[in-house]
Assembly symmetry: D2
Homo-oligomer: 345 residues x 4
């Protein structure tokens, strides 16, 4: 059984996933597309030589009989409506982050999915499929470091566009750490406080950069998360988990080792798109494979999307108040209590 | 256009490629299989739920109208006949190493392909698709280290099966270095000499292990290649190219970094199958994509298969004589002279 | 001119410095010793075959005509009196940390030294002589990373004795970071806040372990300093300075690289005494050389001792209150304003 | 007891050792100097403010009553005579490499020392005192890697002076590997063969560079030693010992870790003098301490000097013949059979 995808939103990430499904992965095909810009949708069909219909809107696409799964890659504020429409039709959904732009929106989706009675939704948090994070998770789950006590991580970009604002350090950048870290240590967040260190001269006036988030979890783990989006030197994702018996840390991105000009060096990526390219492939392949094999997606759930939204709100509030802000989640429904490991190498 | 594959030989590597094409890669499908053990071929069709016919022999499979490309994964001595049959029918061929068990057999294929008039054959040397080797090649081609002067490499296995013999250090193990190194530095081999260092106690009586091959190229590069197949500690592929301006070296296989028990450590693979898993995916995907897009495969050619056969023969002779043995290649036909870069990330 | 030392306090660290001066370094000799335990002082003279007189107390030792410099290695509460006595006599002093157990005590010394009119006192903060920190300092002073914005550091011990208490995480452990970091970035501390992450099961009931100190400097640099004294895996000192243009980090302690048992590893020290052994040698040699060549010691000053005391007090208070505590220093006297670089390789 | 040194030869290395003994190390002093250039000898006395007499020649210096030990740092061809004179007088000798310029000269010294009846001579092979080699030796002696089977090493300089000739790759460069490797694996050399790879354009016409020496030991260990003295990128000493159970390798020279300009890097030394600076200190300190404590030096012996001379001769011959040349040592006298470990950290 090939999974027949309908794609809502044919911008950059939409086209990237279309290319992925039609040219790289196995077991999926694109049969429907829509975009607020209908012309753009038609061009994509041509560009990728798709055998796909262009629909006028998300509702009609979702309702199309030959659509098995919906890929939501429109702009954030439109996600909630499209995901709810898909659930209404009982269609599988792979929704890029954010699941919805508000915690309430995420809860609407959670409730709709629970009402439907089985998992349909996967949120596009690809880091759980990165081989480095997977190795970290295995080590932690295998008790290699004992109880985790602290996490140090950093999310660094060489530079950002002019429109990048202080809150986007949370909603666009830290959001990936927010999703991956609670999954990594099987814990929930409790509070967050933000420190603004001395600002780099490379940041524009309106932007606070770098920022340091101190996040506390329910079990007491202290997370120190640096966001630094004008670090100049490279795109660099660091994560180190310090436990009672030892420490595990993400590998550096693999690079040839060079000796030249009085330096022993490896390359650091400059473009974030190169960093998780395999994780993107694996997350969609896993979505396809899980739906085909088990009838449910296997990756980050709607509940994970809700956690991200609540935590993200608290982090932005903490940016504004300078105080320690509580991260208050509703009780996790039994529906989402099963261990949702991703199946990767 | 989907590339429809016929598979000759459904042993371990055959099944692995069938799984790859049917479940992981994009743009190919399995439509025909054959094996000297017909029952095995039938089981494979069931196991992978293939929509594929089982043929009594390679000739009938190759002749099947719906077969676009042939995957030769039978045992080595049968390769030549199957590849020649495919060329005869004008079918594309992806042939696992060796292309043929003799240099003469390889030349027969080279001549058949040239007579046919365009490239049909790709040999399964996957290392050219490994991201580490690709980075090395880019650095060298971009003149980052100036002229290459020396190469140091090692091919280490933790252990080998009882039937592994001294000459298999060349034909099963060093063969991968033989293919990838001349590609890496755009050079041809000229001579080889073998040294047998002190033998490890972990090798069986009949096996010389480790072995060191000193290979000289036409341009004067000196290659020091260690084969050590009972090294106990891991499966480890090392390659370092020393040039006039600097040195480039393969990355270690990416692993989380651990601090525990008075050690700072990373994991070394124990199973060779984990090392080149992405390279295997990429080589077949590249074969599919190139055939679809350009009408010709893009990877290692029949001529590369011939180079491997001649060099391999000289290495085995050098094992026996202890002398420096010449590696004498025929002149490279213009047909194979174009730069055959592989298209990879 | 050989520097003739009188040693006050012949406990472990006293004997270690006696051995160092008499057997390893150049230009110094031990001519006088005293200890509250006179018998111990006599034994040390014998043990090291010193040509040294045993004095009944610090005052008489300091007054001895043939004593050029005093080494204060008694217990902390006795330091202030001995150092003041030495200054009174115009003798040079090398005083192990702490300079005095209160900020007031340190100020007494500062004032006495200023009254004397030239530098006599060096405090035993050896990290400034560690080749890793020296390299960091050079990189920062040479503007290699632009303005420092953040520091991440960790001070980890495998385990501590039963009597190690929560405040000793500051006074015995963090004290070294307190001295070295402001020197490293040429800055002063402004505030500190402490977080107690989940406690390791390896810590005794009375001890909070690990602890994280967030220290802010006058210029806005944010320092994240972890103290973890039951980390089990090793004695590990980490320090990373993140600047506008790049990052510099301490080297790992140099170790052979091992490949064995599926691991690529280096050794982590288990004993803190091995970590700064060369720095200890260099700090005393530099004290000797500077006094001989310039007539003044060149290392950490009495003012640095005062900074350490004030900062240490604030850190302990922050442990107790959980609040952000101010670090309030008096204005730096011009006497101490000259750049006091240590002269090391 | 202070060891009173007489120094024969006040060139660069002589002055360096004079500075070391008078300003850095403990337990030695310079009481006599001589040089073929008497004026130079006098200047050195002034420069270092030595309380030392200037002697007209080596014989008179050696005979001076207040000289306990002789430091031979004249040019190579003069070493033999000075060392023999010292032995004749029963004085200790620290002789820079070479012990003598011919194997016969070395044997003369060996025989004179044996006739004298106890060890007086230490040869200045400092690598045995380098902490990296010491760690390698400990790992090998502790059977961490089982039986050594192969060694790979490299000795690389960024560039050399115009007068550096092809044979100096042995006598000035490889000579250090020659001494340290047999000590490292407790073995003796048996044969050597040389390969000249493609020559770097950075070498002058008269110089073959790089060169690769394949040395076989009595027990069958195969050593692959690269000498590359115009490698441009740095001064780099590599050594890796491959055993039955694992591999140990020298650490890189410790450097801060930098992230800048899309590179993760450490510094490689450019100046050889920085590489073994601590080893030089340790070898002389060990000479002083051993003579004081045991009445005999403890480092490389006259016999080690003989081994170096014989091996060096064979290597130079192998450069000329291109053939495998035997390394033929006389039988090791019982006098030198005791295990001469160096006592280092």
């Amino acid at each position: 059984m090939t999974i027949r995808f309908g794609v809502i939103g044919t911008g950059a990430i939409g086209r990237e996933h279309i290319r992925r499904i039609s040219q790289t992965l196995s077991g999926g095909e694109i049969v429907a597309v829509t975009d607020v810009n209908q012309e753009a949708a038609k061009q994509v069909v041509e560009q990728f030589k798709l055998d796909a219909s262009v629909y006028p809107d998300d509702k009609s696409l979702v309702a199309a009989e030959n659509v098995d799964a919906v890929l939501v890659t429109s702009w954030g504020p439109a996600h909630e409506q499209s995901v709810l429409a898909a659930i209404e039709e009982g269609k599988y959904v792979f929704c890029e982050k954010p699941l919805a732009v508000t915690a309430e929106g995420c809860m609407n989706i959670v409730e709709a999915e629970m009402k439907h009675g089985k998992r349909l939704v996967q949120v596009g948090f690809m880091r759980r499929y990165d081989s480095g994070y997977v190795q970290l998770k295995e080590a932690i789950d295998n008790n290699f470091i004992g109880e985790p006590l602290m996490i140090r991580c950093a999310h660094r970009n060489p530079e950002v566009a002019e429109n990048y604002s202080t809150d986007m350090a949370v909603t666009d950048t830290l959001i990936h750490e927010i999703d991956v870290l609670h999954w990594l240590i099987n814990d929930d967040y409790k509070s967050v406080q933000v420190v603004f260190p001395k600002k780099t001269k490379h940041a524009l006036d309106h932007l606070q950069d770098p920022q340091i988030f101190t996040i506390e979890t329910e079990s007491g783990v202290s997370i120190n998360a640096e966001v630094f989006v004008n670090c100049k030197y490279g795109y660099d994702i660091q994560c180190e988990v310090i436990g009672e018996e030892g420490i595990v840390k993400l590998p550096e991105f693999p690079s040839i080792v060079m000796r030249k000009d009085a330096k022993l060096s490896t390359n650091v990526l400059m473009d974030w798109k190169d960093r998780f390219i395999e994780a993107y492939d694996k997350e969609i392949q896993d979505f396809i494979d899980s739906v085909r094999e088990t009838g449910e997606p296997n990756g980050p759930t709607a509940w994970d999307g809700y956690i991200a939204a609540v935590t993200s709100d608290a982090c932005v509030k903490a940016q504004q108040t300078g105080e320690k802000e509580a991260i208050v989640l509703k009780e996790r429904p039994a529906f989402y209590s099963k261990n949702t490991e991703c199946k990767t190498v």
